[in-house]
Each structure stands twice: as structure tokens, then as C-alpha cells.
């Protein structure tokens, strides 16, 4: 339960009340612990004096102890993290959880669906695929948010678009003037999904977003012919330890922290409790 110390080395706006925090681990122990981690794993980040909260790691292992987190301001810990100055010390505890089984997805066509801040833990998935582009099949990224100011990693769109065998589609529930003028998509991610209609043939999907989005995306994917065992998702739950002790994050007899946070939809469907 004791975090490693990290220094905030970078901080930039991703959207309204959403920031990307770059943390450099300062101790050799911490660097070693985070030398390798998988897309979809998470870590607790401490605003010392306020508390810690879990966040999906938004970076891929860099070898230099640099970690990135996409953090939306929704509570006291996230507000405190947002207000930190570059150079200040934070705590980092992890990596925790199972992560996405990237090996199982090799040679498959992959559809990544991110909603709002849910895009943050998907960024390492996209990076991982782009870094080893030939290992995977076609990559379809569906990126959505309630409004344009909540879309994350917009500065990486060009990188994603220009990658071979990769397509990016973006939509917002409600666009502003600028968005409309530029002819951007408006509508829910499920509508976009219906339009793009990726083929379920040799394909998997990876979804992260708010509970209602997960629910309806699952239904739409099902209509498109995807079976539950082709759909992967990462779930959010309130938690305080990340090591299945605090009892907080259970969904039925599963703990989101150690049994997840990544689950296949057929597993989720078998849970006694739902995330809705």
C-alpha cells in the first residue's frame, strides 16, 4: 500500500477539466516495478495530503520510468492532481490489474471504441498496435465524447490516421459551431458504429467508456454479428486498495481490481451484478 515517489514532469490539457499528467518515477525500485506493464493496467496516483485514486495508465513502457495518466477532474483527489505544479512530487502505486491480452489479439482485426475519458486507458492499446503494426490486422478506432471539448488525444489523430491499415472515426453527441462548420460527425458512438459496421470476421473489439455507453455498444456490436467472447472492455469501480482487500470494487464474486479491470463481455454477462 506504499506508493513509489514520482515527479510531475509534464502537464497538459486534454480537454475541459481533463489533463494529461506525466510522472517520472524517482526511485530505482519504482522504475524497476514499472519497467514493464500491459495496456489496460492501472495505477493509483496520490496527491499527497489528499489521497489516492486509480487511473488507467495512458502510456506504454518507455524504459525511462515515465508514466502518463489522463485524468478528468471529478473529485477531490483529481482536483488536487490537476492543481499540482510541474516539479511536485506524487505517489504512484502499481501496475495493477490484468490488462488487455494483446497476444491473443495478434493477427486479428481490432475495433477500439473510446468514450470521453474512457479513451485514456485505450491509448496504450492503440500505441501498442501501431508500434507493432504488422502483428495485428485492420485497426478501426471509434472515438467519441459528449462534446468536442471532451475528446481526448486529439493531437494524436494524425498519427493514428496515417498509420497503415488504420482508420479513425470521431463523433460527438452534440457539436459546437466550429465542429458543425467543419462537418464533424454528430451522434452517439453506437450510431457511428452502425454506420462503420466493422466485420466480426476474425475481429475483436475493445471498449472503454461510461456504463451506459458500454451497455449500448455491446448491444450494437451484437447486432453487427459480434459474439460476446469477441468483445473486451475495461471496467471502472470505486476502489481503495487495488489488491482485493478493501472489498469495495466487487461485482458479484469478482473484484474489478484483481480479476479485471479488463474483462471479456461473456465474463461480464456471467457476473451476478452489472455495472449499470
Amino acid at each position: 500500500m506504499t506508493p513509489y515517489l514520482g515527479r510531475l514532469v509534464g502537464k497538459k490539457d486534454l480537454g475541459t477539466d481533463i489533463k494529461l499528467l506525466q510522472v517520472e518515477l524517482v526511485e530505482p525500485n519504482g522504475k524497476a516495478r514499472f519497467a514493464d506493464y500491459r495496456p489496460g493496467q492501472f495505477a493509483f496516483v496520490s496527491a499527497l495530503g489528499i489521497g489516492e485514486a486509480p487511473f488507467g495508465i495512458a502510456s506504454t513502457p518507455s524504459g525511462n520510468g515515465l508514466l502518463e495518466f489522463g485524468i478528468a477532474k471529478v473529485g477531490s483527489v483529481t482536483a488536487a492532481l490537476h492543481s499540482l505544479e510541474v516539479g511536485e512530487i506524487v505517489g504512484v502505486r502499481g501496475p495493477l490489474g490484468n490488462g488487455f491480452p494483446m497476444d491473443e489479439m495478434k493477427d486479428k482485426n481490432i475495433c477500439v471504441l473510446g468514450g470521453g475519458i474512457g479513451g485514456a486507458p485505450l491509448r496504450p492499446v492503440i500505441r501498442d498496435i501501431l508500434d507493432q503494426r504488422s502483428d495485428y490486422g485492420h485497426l478501426t478506432i471509434l472515438w467519441a465524447a459528449r462534446n468536442p471539448s471532451l475528446l481526448v488525444f486529439t493531437d494524436e489523430y494524425d498519427l493514428w490516421r496515417s498509420a497503415p491499415n488504420t482508420e479513425l472515426h470521431v463523433t460527438v453527441d452534440e457539436g459546437d459551431e466550429e465542429w458543425k462548420a467543419a462537418g464533424g460527425n454528430e451522434g452517439l458512438i453506437t450510431q457511428l458504429l452502425e454506420t462503420i459496421a466493422p466485420s466480426p470476421e476474425n475481429a475483436v473489439t475493445i471498449t472503454c467508456g461510461p456504463p451506459a455507453m458500454l451497455h449500448f455498444v455491446t448491444l450494437t456490436l451484437h447486432e453487427l454479428g459480434f459474439s460476446l467472447d469477441q468483445m473486451w472492455t475495461t471496467l471502472e469501480a470505486r476502489m481503495h486498495c487495488g489488491i482485493c482487500k478493501c472489498g469495495r470494487c466487487n461485482m458479484g464474486d469478482k473484484f474489478v481490481c484483481t480479476d479485471g479491470p479488463v474483462f471479456r463481455q461473456d465474463e461480464v454477462a456471467g457476473f451476478l451484478e452489472t455495472y449499470l
Binding site: 500500500m1 489528499i50 489521497g51 485514486a53 469501480a237 481503495h240 489488491i243 478493501c246 469495495r248
Partner: protein, 348 residues
């Protein structure tokens, strides 16, 4: 059997109180609690069950798990240490509760170092119950009023003194030098209640969607008493608390404190969504945790049958009644599956 006289016990306890932190049943404003004592005189030996379990000795209601010191931009973290403690007069159900907590916190990787550190320095000296209270049901949960299993040493009252059962090496080091006399005979068997049958964990999911939970929860006040009195309920919350704040020097404690799944906002996630939005869902979680989730995760029930929640619940949510209702409902559903016309559900 090994035997210790009442007088010798008093002398021994006085010495223990002098050497380490001795925790024992003691009256605090007429309420019996496991609390630290400074001499044997303070210890109550004739009692049924302290109001609170001994959980708070191994998992305090609020404890620092990390000390943070900040000097300018330099931060140092220190983990708390823990001294030797002996719990004397622990009832078998409470020792059983600690054993279940051990399974949760140190029985599975990754272990909880904070718990492990404290627990290692704790010795359990038990006192058998001569009989069960009306609301006790330890025998239904795999325990016995004189079960030595989870103790280091267990005493059982006999004429003029106590039979001493040394269970572990930790207990032996404590007892060996007392040169206890060996006498003939065995302590009397305790008087036990009729055993309740507990529905096997694998059948509980059949009743997950039953309307029963909503009806049961109607009268639930959503306080946390049952969880806080429970020897097994272990949910906690973590937050930092500022203990000193200055421009160049600050100190914080990272605290972990008890929490309970019956609380309204227990499961609320950032952004406000509550996946366990109804009282029925929350109360159901409490019982499923004990009788299904715990058995699945830890191969052990999350209830030891101490009966505290039964005694204390101000609106008579009675765990034994729930166990009976659920067993009855399951049996009824088995019958109704055989004959489709029969009524279904607990409430039928």
C-alpha cells in the same frame, strides 16, 4: 489436562499486562469491550460476548498506513510499526473471525503488509464459552464454543481454575515457563444450540434476483452497525489527513478506516453513477458477500455466527432468519421446478 488456578492466572495476566499491550474484556461505561488493560483486576472473566468483536485489534477502525513528510520538494514516506499485543479472553467466534481476516489479508497474494505486520505481533489467548447465547450460531458456521483451532492458547473453565490447551508454538513460548500442573479429567463440554442449516454457496445465485432482498431492505436503515460489529466485515476506505501544514514543511497521515457496503454511496463511482443504487441491492450484497462471495473467493464463509448483528440491529434484520428464508426459498424453488404450478420465491 494442563491446569492453571485462578490465582496463578491473575498473576500471569498481571505480568503480561506489564510486558506487552494486553487486550481483554473490560467494562467501559458498563459496556463490555476488548480493550487494553493495565492489570488483571480490570479484566472481566464472567461474560458472554463483548459488544464489539476483536476485529479492531487486527484491523483498527481507523489507522495510519503511511506517514508522509514533505520538506520543500523532498518527500519521505514511512510505514508504521507495530508492537507486541496479546488478546486475552477472546471467544472462539472472534478468533475464527480473525482467522478469516488472515485469509483475506495475508492468505492470498498480494498480501497486505500493514495487516501482516500488526498481526504477526499478536498472540491470541482464548476463553471457551460454557454455553451459547440464544442468538449465537457458531456451530452452524463451522465453529464450536470451545474450538481451539484459531488460538495460540485456549483456556476452558474448570473447577477453581482453567484447563490450558496450548495450540501453537507462539502459545508454547508464552505458556512453557509457567510450569503448569497436569491434572486428571477434561473440562465439561459446552451446551450448544440447535444447528442452523446454511444453503450451500453454489445455490445462492439462484436467489440473487429474488424480490426478497427488496422487501427485506425496506426496513433497513442503512447504518453500518452490522458491518462494524461483525468480526469478518473488512471493507475500508482510504484518505489522507493533514497533521501539520506549513510553507516548507508538512505532514500527512494516510488513513484507512472501516466502511460498509450498506452505506448509500458506498459503490458510487467518479461522476456519480451508482451501480448498487437501491437499498435491496446493497443489503443483498452484504448477505451474498458472507454466504456466496466469501466462499467463492476464500473458500470460507464470511460469517462466523457470533450473533452480534442479530442482537444490535435496531430493525430486526436477523441473519439467521435470512439464512432460513433463503434455504426455504431454495427448497421451494426445487419443488416448484418439479411441479410448475407451485408458487415461487421467498415471499410465496
Amino acid at each position: 489436562m494442563k491446569y492453571i488456578s485462578r490465582e496463578a492466572l491473575q498473576t500471569w495476566l498481571d505480568r503480561l499486562a506489564n510486558d506487552v499491550t494486553l487486550i481483554a474484556p473490560r467494562l467501559v461505561d458498563d459496556i463490555l469491550l476488548y480493550q487494553s488493560v493495565s492489570s488483571a483486576r480490570e479484566i472481566v472473566l464472567d461474560y458472554t460476548r463483548p459488544k464489539m468483536s476483536a476485529k479492531e485489534v487486527v484491523l483498527p477502525s481507523s489507522e495510519p498506513i503511511l506517514f508522509v513528510e514533505k520538506r520543500g520538494q523532498e518527500v519521505s514516506l514511512t510505514e508504521p510499526s507495530s508492537g507486541a499485543q496479546i488478546i486475552f479472553g477472546l471467544r472462539p467466534c472472534d478468533a475464527h473471525g480473525i482467522a478469516v481476516l488472515d485469509t483475506v489479508f495475508v492468505g492470498q497474494e498480494p498480501i497486505d503488509l500493514n495487516y501482516a505486520r500488526r498481526r504477526e505481533a499478536i498472540t491470541l489467548i482464548g476463553l471457551s464459552c460454557p454455553q451459547m447465547r440464544e442468538d449465537c450460531f457458531c456451530t452452524s458456521m463451522g465453529g464450536m464454543p470451545n474450538d481451539p483451532t484459531h488460538f495460540d492458547v485456549l483456556l476452558t473453565e474448570v473447577e477453581d481454575g482453567y484447563a490450558v490447551n496450548t495450540v501453537t508454538d507462539k502459545g508454547r513460548t508464552l505458556v512453557d515457563h509457567l510450569n503448569l500442573e497436569e491434572i486428571k479429567g477434561e473440562p465439561a463440554e459446552p451446551i450448544i444450540n440447535e444447528t442452523e442449516s446454511v444453503l450451500a454457496q453454489e445455490h445462492w445465485p439462484d436467489l440473487f434476483a429474488d424480490h426478497y432482498w427488496d422487501l427485506l431492505a425496506e426496513r433497513c436503515l442503512e447504518c453500518r452497525m452490522c458491518a462494524y460489529l461483525c468480526p469478518v466485515c473488512r471493507c475500508f476506505d482510504v484518505q489522507d489527513q493533514v497533521t501539520q501544514q506549513g510553507i516548507s514543511y508538512s505532514k500527512y497521515d494516510r488513513l484507512r478506516c472501516w466502511d460498509s457496503c450498506t452505506g448509500t454511496n458506498y459503490r458510487v463511482v467518479a461522476g456519480g453513477h451508482n451501480p448498487r443504487a437501491t437499498k435491496g441491492q446493497r443489503l443483498r450484497n452484504r448477505f451474498f458477500c458472507k454466504f456466496h462471495y466469501f466462499p467463492v473467493e476464500y473458500d470460507h464463509s464470511g460469517c462466523v455466527g457470533c450473533g452480534r448483528c442479530i442482537e444490535a440491529c435496531p430493525v430486526n434484520i436477523d441473519i439467521v432468519e435470512v439464512m432460513r428464508d433463503i434455504s426455504r426459498a431454495f427448497n421451494a424453488s426445487q419443488i416448484s421446478n418439479a411441479s410448475p404450478d407451485a408458487e415461487k420465491g421467498v415471499t410465496a
